[in-house]
Symmetry: C2
Subunit: 204 residues, 2 copies
DNA sequence: TTCTAAAATTGAGTCAATTCTGTTTTTGTG
DNA sequence: CACAAAAACAGAATTGACTCAATTTTAGAA
């Protein structure tokens, strides 16, 4: 079952993603026509739709790879957090934000986010929701870790706090990608300011 | 300048919005074709595009009316807030959420939110951002009011707290409209649980 | 090797949003 | 009232995502 057919399949997947990533970057999401992606990937339009349900799912595959890297990078912070709550959150948030813009442009993020709310039941829509949950869970784990280290009060609801931190950060990130002129440094400063309230609430 | 032309213009605006609202409700956003909206409004397709830049802006006009009503309803709570922080926030959040679903279906919200991130510079995109800001400002005003009443510590950053509350609620609302089976009662309970942490932080 | 069923590919065709160009209506002026 | 410029309208043409029926390729059995 891992003969020619499977190899060709993997290869076509790769070619489509590579072609799409390049075109999304150069021409933007709307500017990248399926026909052009198909031509560049050396497959037909129909084949692309055999591999992905719609144009959004192609972008989705790219975004998912990126977010998985982000999750990976975040693990390090959870395993070895800075020795105070504010810095710990700031470090994790910093990793999420900086990493997120490594391969994906703001425009690609805008599209990805839009698609995930527009078509929540499409493959990418579901994947995106799962990724959000994974990020929330990672923040919850960090908080639990800090509780274990005695840096956060034991009676704090780590789940609820994790959700608050994630939801706030995510919303700030959405507003950030909506404005092309918005700067990362200002975004991070704003989130720090907001988190200060939460940090105060967790003081032992 | 307020002769026939202006009257016809207002009338056509109204007819287009009414036709669109009815069709969005009955057939869903995607299901409502511009051609059908045009026919029902007794104008041509071209005319619709003379009044609105794109299909999303038509939905945007409807959503904006709704959110303005929500803002209006919220004013009452700010003017006369319940006598403890948790209830005050819960009441305001309750008004936002319940009111938001009065005329607009989850599907319409999904589309509206998607469009506002996809096309942040379109008329509706900008209007939506402004409405979000107005809601945040209203929450900030409520918190400032509670500070005035001695129910919230004076050294709390009302702006940052308002943003936290709004961003968290908004993100929860987004997830809520993405799942057709999600219930309002559960959404409100989840937000209450999250806000409990913030309420604790504000205790005098 | 040959053959058949299953899987995959192809690209022309469909559908609906948006654009474009020529026509009609309104306005203000002489 | 007649008329020219400006504004608005109409609907045919364009565009690009997505579908589908016909064809080609692969797997594996005889």
């Amino acid at each position: 079952m891992s003969g020619l057919r499977a190899r060709q399949k993997a290869d076509r997947h790769r070619r489509i993603i590579e072609a799409a990533a390049e075109l999304f970057r150069d021409a933007g999401y709307e500017g990248a026509k399926i026909e052009t992606i198909a031509a560049q990937a050396e497959v037909s339009v129909g084949t692309i739709y055999n591999y992905y349900q719609n144009k959004g799912d192609i972008l989705g595959a790219i975004v998912s790879m990126e977010v998985n890297e982000v999750l990976n990078a975040g693990q390090g912070v959870v395993a070895n957090p800075p020795a105070n709550v504010g810095d710990a959150l700031d470090t994790l948030v910093g990793i999420y934000i900086e990493h997120s813009l490594h391969y994906l442009s703001k425009e690609m993020w805008r599209q990805a986010m839009a698609i995930s709310t527009q078509l929540p039941d499409s493959p990418f829509g579901q994947a995106y929701t799962a990724l959000d949950r994974a990020l929330t869970e990672q923040i919850r784990a960090l908080i639990a870790r800090l509780q274990g280290l005695g840096l956060v009060r034991r009676d704090i609801d780590a789940q609820a706090l994790g959700e608050l931190v994630f939801n706030n950060m995510n919303m700030m990130f959405i507003e950030f990608v909506k404005r092309d002129e918005a700067r990362v440094a200002e975004l991070r400063a704003a989130i720090r300011r907001q988190n200060r309230i939460l940090v105060a609430a967790t003081a032992v």
